[in-house]
Symmetry: C2
Subunit: 352 residues, 2 copies
């Protein structure tokens, strides 16, 4: 009951070794959490590629996006025995009160004719640009509205972690639309149609100082660029699998019963699973149901161990009738695929 996913037999479908580094002195550490879309009969993944400078003994080196430096990357190095260095978290380096990421992420396309075998592009598609993305860009979600694709992704810099929007029609020319949600925010999933004349988005701001938490919120917009009327839809649940943080997956799925939202939740041990929310079709601020149990949990070896183990995290899917194919990051290191039956997912929800 706690796992309804049919995993691809060939998982993982993409590993760090399958992708070319963006420069010879960088190594790919992880592939993570792709945005997913269909374009001209193919399935596209917009991978998050996390790179790290090739490391030298006694030193730890981190990359920063910097258009003024060669290749757009500046490398900072600290001695490993420097007492100001704190390496207790594999994702963030603390040095003298400042946080740096161990890796720098860019977004890169991979294409498939069958939805199973993917060929990654040889170079980055989108890289951190400007002072609000100096620590890179991460975890895109791709939403097609008409013939335009809307990419929401995490922009990371010393100013904070926020949500940026970029649009494209042809996957060659991209238009940056600025930050649509200020720090601290992630996990922004746009609805792929207007409801009663308005655009909607799920997003995940964070609380500070004992008030608020890592909850799923809804916002409303006339134009996808300016957002307001923020509402809180889903809190974390004490003592359950989603006790520490929750965040939306990809665009909500229109069903007869309501908007079905696949979301990730983590517990206090940072174990990431997937669960369900159901929102009213005409008023997505109304939560009709929330699944008590997870519908997918880390069970396969590649989900249990890796760069950051015990993680299944999805922010991209394609729908084909009742078959929902998700692409997901496993253990913050490799890309996998799995399918669900939408009917079966809905059946797990008790509707009031």
């Amino acid at each position: 009951m706690a796992d309804l996913a049919q995993r691809f037999a060939g998982n993982p479908i993409l590993r760090p070794i399958d992708v070319k580094p963006s420069r010879p002195d960088m190594a790919i550490e992880c592939l993570l959490n792709p945005g997913v879309f269909r374009y001209r009969g193919r399935v596209g993944l917009l991978l998050r590629v996390a790179e790290r400078p090739v490391q030298q003994e006694e030193w730890i080196s981190m990359p920063i996006a910097d258009p003024a430096s060669p290749g757009g990357v500046r490398i900072l190095s600290f001695r490993k025995d420097d007492p100001l260095l704190d390496l207790s978290d594999p994702r963030v380096i603390q040095y003298d009160g400042n946080g740096y990421l161990t890796t720098l992420s860019h977004l890169r396309l991979a294409w498939s004719d069958d939805g199973v075998h993917f060929t990654p592009d040889d170079s980055p598609t989108l890289v951190g640009e400007g002072e609000l993305q100096t620590y890179g860009i991460e975890d895109s979600r791709v939403t097609q509205i008409g013939d335009e694709y809307h990419l929401t992704y995490t922009a990371v810099s010393p100013a904070g972690v926020a949500v940026a929007l970029t649009t494209t029609r042809d996957w060659k020319a991209f238009e940056q639309r600025g930050l649509i949600f200020p720090p601290h925010n992630k996990d922004c999933a746009l609805f792929d149609e207007k409801i009663d004349g308005h655009y909607y988005a799920l997003h995940r701001p964070s609380g500070v100082g004992g008030l608020g938490g890592n909850f799923i919120w809804l916002a409303k917009s006339p134009d996808l660029i300016h957002w307001g009327d923020h509402r809180c839809l889903a809190l974390t649940r004490p003592g359950q699998w989603d006790t520490a943080r929750v965040g939306a997956g990809a665009s909500p799925i229109r069903t007869e019963k309501g908007w079905l939202v696949l979301y990730h939740g983590a517990d206090e041990f940072h174990r990431y699973c997937l669960g369900l929310l159901l929102l009213d079709l005409n008023d997505p601020a109304k939560v009709l149901a929330r699944g008590k149990e997870e519908v997918m949990e880390p069970t396969a070896p590649y989900e249990k161990t890796g760069f950051f183990g015990n993680v299944v995290f999805t922010n991209g899917h394609v729908l084909d009738g009742d078959k929902l194919t998700i692409y997901y990051g496993a253990s913050d290191e490799v890309i996998c695929g799995a399918t669900f039956s939408v009917k079966q997912l809905l059946a797990t929800l008790s509707l009031a």
Copy 2:
């Protein structure tokens, strides 16, 4: 040099004892940080009034806004010797991992003919409404655009600390416009005119986990309700008086040199002072200058001791030629007034 404020001789101008509690079993603990405006020849303050249930021995009681309870207030009580209770911060009670405020704030009008002597209304003007304001509403900023007043204020609830917008034309009928900035956010000051066809606001989102901080940001809007294109304008400055947090005061002041922003900054000891930013008149995302030193610091006895000592905090002012009259909260307990010369403030800034 570090203090250019001419304080009112009669400071403090309003104390908790000058205001009537909203119910007989509530006591006013503090008056804080008023929004300020002119209406029909008078100066209005929109005070933040923080109340607390009259306390009983061995118990600690806190209030929660709850429309379903008598008078709209529900009172929670815990035994003082309960080991799950943490009272180390005078503003927030931690109980079993949840944060509660020690006081519940509402907003209340006070009126003056001379800008010095104020008469507070006998009852609250605006109280927390709905599930996003159950812990009250705080620190309003009032911006007049045409004949409409726009009130931005902090909405506090277990879902987080966010910025709400309410409008009025007559200070009797109010229209709620929802949350305009999601958690964690405070210190939202609207510009009082459009720039190149857009509305602008300063706001103060917060970072989490070593990335980002308590910085001043700018946002853009077509309608004052939906916001986007967020930019970071001012970080905290290590080792200076504004090392821990910064946040905008009231609406930026148009001068010949640029938009003059009076902001508060605090150091690691929570000492709150006021300082200056100057923004480009035609592109407020461009910071022309930032004052190195504070222009006001807690020096008077009522600024140095109180509910939370060593605080001067302003979010409201009126302008009369060169004379800027600010109203401010001192030590999170009483309301005071002071004047500045705009010319003198500008003279402290070295323009590039």
